[in-house]
Amino acid sequence: MWNRRIGSNSLVCNPLRNGDRRVSAVSTRARPPSGIPHLQPVSCCEPIQWRFHSSPCGRKDSVNHFQILAASPVPMATPLIAGLAVAAAALAGRYSIQAWNAYKARPVVPRMRKFYEGGFQPTMTRREAALILGVRETASAEKVKEAHKRVMVANHPDAGGSHYLASKINEAKDVMTGKTKGGGSAF
């Protein structure tokens, strides 16, 4: 009995729903000019109008916006950037030419080193010996011999050199090879 009643309720509801739809459709179709006094037609008409107005307006707006975004920046920016690029290239070329001319016209100035001050030390040290021969203080015996030969040829007394320098060079070789004791201790 209860089941039957529930079934009867559902049967009753269905036609009501159908009835509502039919009524709303009829009202919109039948009474568009006299829709003001009725609340339901007004509420129904508003969303319909909104829908119809919004979609085409939205589309048009989007199209216009896209056109503006796509079209306007490109023609405005390209000529300016192109102009700046050309100007920069021209300036670079001019500077390059000037630099090349200046480089070609430069005078040849040798690099001057400051000469060592004063004369030889009273007692020759390993450091001074290395400087005289033009080698490192830790040079090997072979390099010392080679340097000694080279410097002696340049300062030989028989070829324009002096006996004093020759003796200094020989003493330097002895100090470097350890044949002579180095300078006395400073402490």
């Binding site: 060592y116 004063g118 004369g119 040290t125 005289i132 340049a154 300062n155 007394p157 324009g160 180095g182």
Partner: protein, 113 residues
């Protein structure tokens, strides 16, 4: 507790650093003694105010007291160029300084003459 630990760390660190510095100083003295830098430094102090002597300059250029300025210049040019090519910069410096030392002695008579 934390303060004591921190103090211990500081003391230990200071000890280690002190020992390291002492050892480095000793090693520096040994190196200076070996290479003659210390001796050179002491001589340098005296050399700073003292220039090359005339006798040494004459010996370096291989000239006598009777040589003329032209001979000195020629000798100087020869030795300078030879040391520039095959010699050493140190000897070149000494030759240059020798000429500088002798220049005032020979320029005065020229000016007077």
């Amino acid at each position: 507790m934390a303060g004591r630990l921190l103090a211990n760390l500081i003391v230990m660190g200071g000890t280690v650093v002190g020992r390291a510095m002492l050892q480095a100083y000793r090693q520096a003295i040994v190196n200076a003694n070996k290479t003659g830098a210390a001796q050179e430094a002491i001589n340098g102090i005296r050399r700073a105010s003292k220039a090359m002597t005339e006798q040494e300059a004459r010996q370096i250029l291989g000239i006598s007291e009777n040589s003329t300025w032209e001979e000195i210049v020629q000798k100087y040019d020869t030795m300078f160029e030879r040391n520039n090519k095959n010699g050493s910069f140190y000897l070149q410096s000494k030759v240059h300084r020798a000429k500088e030392c002798l220049e005032p002695l020979y320029q005065k008579p020229d000016v007077l003459n």
